[in-house]
Symmetry: C2
Subunit: 344 residues, 2 copies
């Protein structure tokens, strides 16, 4: 059994280049007692992966820093094609920390954060979008950290992205008003409107700060932040009393050598407002609840997963690099073997 | 009746100078129906007052910006020496927005945030320290925004100041551990230790960041921030999961022309930690509860008010300027008429 892998060939310093990625093929052993053999069907792409690849994880990586030659971290949806594990059978699907490789032998222990997927008759890639960490990030970040109430004014950046597109739909489903997205370019903005957002700010052609004061005359109650940087800073000038800024991601900052210098945090005081850090794995105890709530919204037609699927394991590096130039609409995934989408 | 006043003579840009203050004496009318005549006994001094005096309130003032010639904002403890108000009698004491003046005719309406003091047999200046906004700031900031639990690790900056010295004692009374203060110079550090702090960092002679990692091997649960700037930024590198940074004050930033640029806010994400803005007047609904809790702690000997009293209304400008150079120990007040302390 040949396992194909993408590894760290060089540590990136700022922008990613093809030379940072190494490709190799290795012979895989058969699973031993307590192990399963996984075949990867879909692999996730996320802005934080560049940080994983930096020397010492850029000093801020939430995952174990990678050395030269290590397989790049990444979650995938995989099928168990051979099982010597009592809790799993051939044909079961899981999502978890597979890494950038086509196969893996694993004990499926908790360190690799594997979750057994419930068969729901939906595309299997949902395990990487609405019914996986992307969905859990949107749900736990928005619900547990944002604490939304009906009628509250909500802003979501990265609103055409994997997490952001789900948060926009959740905010609408919960009766928040208005729900405003931020995205880049007319095509993405149209997509955000199609998800039900009341209005969209195009950060590439509009002045975000002045649009915000027009759209939120009474201030923001929740800002769900996927981008960090200038847009985070601008949001702080426009907060309602008791506002919550959920710091989920910071794609605009991941390619900086030095952290973005925030200037408006002092405005939190006057409004008794919060900046609330969020990292999805701190909410593992809420994943079951998130999964059920999201599955219900999918069933009732209130929520759909936006995915942007690239075909072919060989395109992993290019697919990741495209993420930083803002090309993707919805959650960007790679389908390892081109073909039809599996239903599970 | 002659009323003595300190006014804004020039708007300060950064450091305060004597030339920014104007002095005048005016004839005061007698109170009309619904009004009282107040005689000021004690006046408060607070870092935020410089911001009040800046042009347009420095753009960030929580109180109405002051024009040239306006009486400077400030809270005081005053005695009602003549009443034509149905709810107040001669001899009652209040604390509230009197301004930098020796007398005031007032309707005691809510805009001036007057609070009628309960006679408790304590020095009347307690209405500006533990049993006034200083105490309410410590209580509402620490209890409502910090949400302390017994056993949690607490850091308090400005720990020899008015609010900070109370927070240190409240943290100890609630069983937090360790409770660490930050103050400047050996004299103030000794004072913080005398309040029960488990250890003190002298920011003038020690490296705060390296002391923090030694004192909080498992990270901070609560940082009660009175200073902002570099110390706030350093605290963010040392947070426990779910930590709360209560942003109460920012004395190190008030004399800056441009806001301090924060660099470590991104670390909130990994720890699911919060920066929580706090402004005491957003908690008016909790003042009664705060007053009762603080009075109980005073009675049981678990809490004492640190005050640093300067004698004489004529010294108001010098007393305020001294605050920024870190001279005060405890809450700095001016006793308008030198003499013995009134008990009320």
């Amino acid at each position: 059994m040949i396992n194909r892998q993408w590894t760290v060939a060089e540590h990136p310093e700022n922008e990613l280049h093809a030379s940072h990625f190494g490709y190799k093929e290795i012979e895989l052993d058969s699973p031993k007692d307590g192990e399963v053999l996984l075949k990867t069907h879909y692999l996730n792409l996320a802005p934080v992966m560049r940080m994983y690849m930096m020397k010492d994880g850029g000093g801020r990586s939430p995952e174990q820093p990678l050395n030269i030659g290590d397989v790049i971290h990444g979650r995938g949806v995989a099928e168990i094609i051979e099982s010597r594990h009592p809790d799993y059978q051939t044909g079961d699907f899981v999502h978890g920390q597979i890494g950038w490789q086509t196969h893996k032998v694993s004990t499926l222990n908790s360190a690799e954060k594997f979750v057994k997927m419930a068969p729901r008759g939906v595309p299997a890639y949902y395990g990487l979008s609405a019914l996986g960490m992307t969905g859990y990030s949107a749900y736990c970040g928005f619900i547990s950290r944002g604490e939304p109430k009906a009628g509250e004014a909500v802003l979501v950046s990265g609103a055409a992205g994997g997490v952001g597109s789900l948060v926009v739909q959740m905010a609408k489903a919960l009766g928040c008003s208005p729900v405003i997205g931020i995205a880049g370019g007319p095509e993405k903005c149209a997509l955000v409107t199609s998800l039900g957002a009341d209005d969209v700010i195009d950060y590439k052609s509009e002045d975000v700060a002045s649009r915000l004061s027009g759209l939120f005359p009474n201030g923001l109650d929740i800002y769900f932040d996927n981008v960090g940087g200038e847009i985070l800073d601008a949001s702080l000038t426009n907060l309602a009393k008791g506002a919550r800024v959920v710091m989920c991601g910071a794609i605009s900052e991941y390619t900086r050598k030095t952290p973005f210098a925030l200037k408006n945090h002092g405005l939190l005081r006057r409004e008794n407002a919060d900046m609330r850090g969020f990292f999805v794995y701190n909410h593992a105890h809420e994943f079951d609840q998130a999964e059920e709530a999201i599955a219900d919204w999918i069933k009732s037609g209130q929520l759909r997963a936006l995915v942007d699927i690239e075909d072919g394991f060989e395109h992993m590096p290019a697919a990741l690099m495209g993420l930083y130039s803002g090309k993707n609409k919805g959650k960007r995934l790679v389908r390892v073997t081109p073909g039809e989408d599996l239903i599970y």
